[in-house]
Symmetry: D3
Subunit: 247 residues, 6 copies
């Protein structure tokens, strides 16, 4: 059974990661999952939040935003309204947590890496695209200051994320916006290069799901992530060998 | 193997739900999971958010807050700072989504039910305690306007939530604050009275987890939720028979 | 002549102060004046506002908030709206000023004591209940760091507060919400253990009052405060002997 | 015994009320108490706050602000900081309450009168100068729409306010800034033309006061207000006859 | 004399306007002036600001933002800080005013067109690039609802903008960031297709300028705008014929 | 041809600058252009913004505000709304830039001078009146700390500003509010004592203008500024000799 765009139910949209998308950032990509497009920029800052001062450890923090017209109807600019929505808070916390899970914050040292994920076009799956793209920007940023240093590289493993959902017709991988609006259950999976889970967020606002359905979604999502990990490695080329290198 | 407070690893803390805790609210409880104490108040408002006007459907919305000295060190009052933290946004969105999953919004009609979850004391598991307690307040609030009406009761099923985590020594149910700080993986499960999942949020910020570990956590959490469902039913007494009643 | 709840016009509601209400705070109470219930928590912070840095003096600051459903109809959460109301500002300034009047800020040293007064249920008189309860929490907090130290105890005198009003039928002590809404004149009195006035705030928004009426209100209020002072002393037990102790 | 500026302890500073100070406002004054200067503008708006819609009643609301350099050292502009201070809230609530006490809101009808009190120079007593001046602006604004109408004039009585304090050397009327900083007790009195009290706010942050001292302060303040009422009447000229006119 | 990038002093950088850059917006472009890149999106909203309700006239409003890492060092996200900077306000007011000058707001009817200008990369001249690009997005948006309608097309004339500056070495057109930082005088010119001025903003913060220098800057800028107008026309193709068409 | 108030088209309104208008500020004026009245206060602060720390250079920063009833209909107080409007931001940035252009920030040393421009009455031309008046306050403030010091005086030249507009009947100098509302083009000119331009801001929101019209406006405005410079010199008296003095 196929979908509006001809994909199989367990097939990703066309994924493309354009490296070094921005001139000034220490690392940056444009990541595209079909019509979903997110600019991810990594910035290295030589200070840490107050709770880490003097600890010798670094931090990774993410911010997320939708351009006003990334969406079907215009969404009000958060800067004009004077505050970020709850959805933005929820997503940027997820992105930050996910990326910190593969960073050795001690090895990084007292630096903060900011990951700015700005959605240019939103056709479903923006948070998982952001995580997948931000990982590449993060590796490039750290590589820009690590160079050929013999110290352990602070990125411990690869990391990618994908969404999967239960639609009336079954389990679908990598939902686009129109599919997402008919989904009964929605699950976002963040997984490492070694196949371990980092975040599992399954939500049944319009329905519920069983243990079996959860397992089926995770299986389909894991396959999708395998493909994403390959794309990340190909994008990073030789730099990808540094990930997980222990010095 | 036992814990600091003598519990077995798959044992809940002492849970207590005090019904009608507030004089003015349509429904309210004080819910206690050990030293974690949350006041949950349900308010019925005769209007809906703009996107539902004229739809005939209702809405359920949650707000969450920590009293400044519910925590070990004082946390700055959000009203004084002028904005809610990302953590607050994330939690109140989770509570709202979870409770909407068991409400028949059409049957409710054009009303909003506000669920205010104010944490008086925070010793771990405040968001799951809030969901478990808010469910009871919500049933009472709806009952206060439904009375003996023969129409289908808009609460379709029971709903409770619990946390579970992977500690160095294994999987633990219902983490208190000191356990939570040593957890490698943290999972919150929201489940219905019929054993279906509503939300599965597993997070491995300090580590990762496998499919097997996920399944183990879910099994332990499901057992804990069975106990919570019984406590909810006992607390609600005869009103509990209305849940799921189709008219 | 008696009132809806059977009290005499110069009689307080049932007042109860539950000490050590919270697990983490250095001092805390639940104070109840009839159905009015306020949680007062005292936190000691080892720093002072900028204008006191290096002065050797301490500070006492209060914050006040209504839980959204402490009131008959739900009041919008200030943290969600992004600012505190004028009423909140007015009340928390009053509480802070009142408590500072009995503290020897020099003896306290460069510390700030925060008094968080969170109203769980609001049936009139929340600001005077908050002052009366916060005093006990403040004594306990200072005692927690003073212990058996021979230095002068920084609490110079007892302090309590009560409201009184002119209703069509005469002067009434300790107004509950329904009485408060029919009051022509409203007066809050803050008084010390030695019978001196700290704050007199008489307000005639719906009417005016003469010097004689002012004196009558003050006489009735003073009697009420005598009772409150006794309750504070009984609540504090032996710790009450430290108040006013000069070393 | 005399003061730095040669006044007797029960003597006002030189008070001057310049009527029609602004070109566009319906009523406006510059009020000066010595070096304290406040611009008071009254604006009539043909709508009321939500809680009065359809009630047939009007409203009076006040706003207060210090120009950044009205004070000895520059105070940060509230508009730049994004919020009003607690002190501002407290003062503008006092001004609004005081003026509403002499307005027949039913006779006014569904209108709001805004009173903007902007302090150009602050040498003590700004809130009482604001009330005294705003009263004149308010009468002029109402007169501008009432004209020769035979309906009862909605201003029921005159209203003025003054500060008085207990200094080490005794009770002083109308404190300037340098006196205010040495005051032990500070009292603001708002009184009507018929000698009734509207607001009595006595505050002993740096000390306390007895019933006798309260009475002494009120006696001195009342005399000061008599003088202010005469100045208001002289300023208003024939318009002053309308105050209290019942149609 | 040539510049770092080999341009003549009166030569534009490479300018490129990619039409229909976004999938959902009624009109959108990516405009590039060398390394300066701005996404301009036009949204049509079927309502107008309050001051135009019932007037039959429409409105054009612009918003401007820098992505956090569009700049050399990261600039704090305005949505996270909770307010827009003064620079943002100044620029978005300029963009809005400029575009309204060529729109027949009566012919447009009661609609608002929002122009969102989001800077992806900032290498100088972002506000003039935004105006030049937003014009194309605006024409496309209006064309999307006008189609082949015989009514007058509401865009009266073409509009483009460019910056010019006085550097130590003379007058330079279209300053990049490094040139801009050494400029003594900076001028932004907005001009119509018929060669009329809409905005002239010359600023000499680091120096001053004479009437002759002003005229020289305007002459150079006007030439640059001629080139931009040609690029706009080429980009719009046949749609460009509608601009200025009177029905 | 004359105007409503009898002025010639190239004639200023009556301009008056009252020096030392405020008691506490280091420099202050009330500046009047006809019915437009602005209080300008200069404050010297012994610190600089972060980007200048340790640079040895000073800063000049301006803030602008309309009193709520300075305008024909009341404008909402920015402090109450919690943010400044875009117009306020635009104007205060202009004032700051303009005044910095004649200050030798190195000679000033690490100090910030704040210029608070508060509009008491707004009858057109408030921003140019503010610049013209703030210059005098600024000179007085610097003089208050420079005294007879032999070091170069940090004010390099005089500075004044005026508005000019194209009305249906031609070019008019110094527009009052009613003229301003019928203007097709509006231009603000800031000029130094030596006749150099500092800011030229010509805006044709309701029309456009040619190079010739621009030149005509600048010529008329320059004449107006000559008159303003004379008034500034007369106001400053002997202090005016210090402006431009090189030590």
């Amino acid at each position: 059974m196929t979908r509006a765009d001809g994909r199989a139910t367990n097939e990703l949209r066309k994924v493309k990661i354009t490296r070094n998308y921005l001139k000034y950032a220490e690392g940056s990509v444009l990541v595209e999952f079909g019509d979903t497009k997110v600019i991810c920029a990594a910035t290295i800052e030589e200070k840490v939040p107050p709770f880490l001062k003097g600890s010798g450890e670094g931090w990774v923090s993410a911010e997320y935003s939708l351009l006003p017209r990334s969406t079907q109807s215009r969404n009000v600019r958060e800067a004009a309204r004077g505050k970020q929505t709850g959805r933005t808070h929820e997503i940027q916390r997820l992105i930050g947590r996910a990326l910190r899970s593969v960073i050795d914050l001690k090895a990084l040292g007292e630096k903060t890496i900011w990951l700015d994920c700005d959605v240019v076009q939103a056709d479903g799956g923006t948070r998982t695209a952001a995580i997948t793209g931000a990982f590449v920007a993060l590796v490039d940023a750290i590589n820009s200051i690590w160079g050929e240093s013999p110290k352990p590289f602070p990125v411990k493993d690869f990391l990618a994320a994908i969404s999967v959902g239960i639609l009336p017709a079954g389990v679908y991988l990598d939902l686009c916006y129109s599919e997402d609006s008919t989904a009964i259950v929605d699950l976002n999976l963040v997984m490492t290069g070694s196949g371990q889970f980092v975040e599992v967020q399954g939500t049944g606002e319009k329905g519920t799901f069983s243990q079996e359905q959860l397992n089926e979604m995770l299986a389909v999502a894991s396959q999708g992530i395998e493909v994403l990990l390959d794309i990340q490695k190909e994008t990073l080329g030789p730099v990808s060998w540094k990930v997980g290198r222990e010095g």
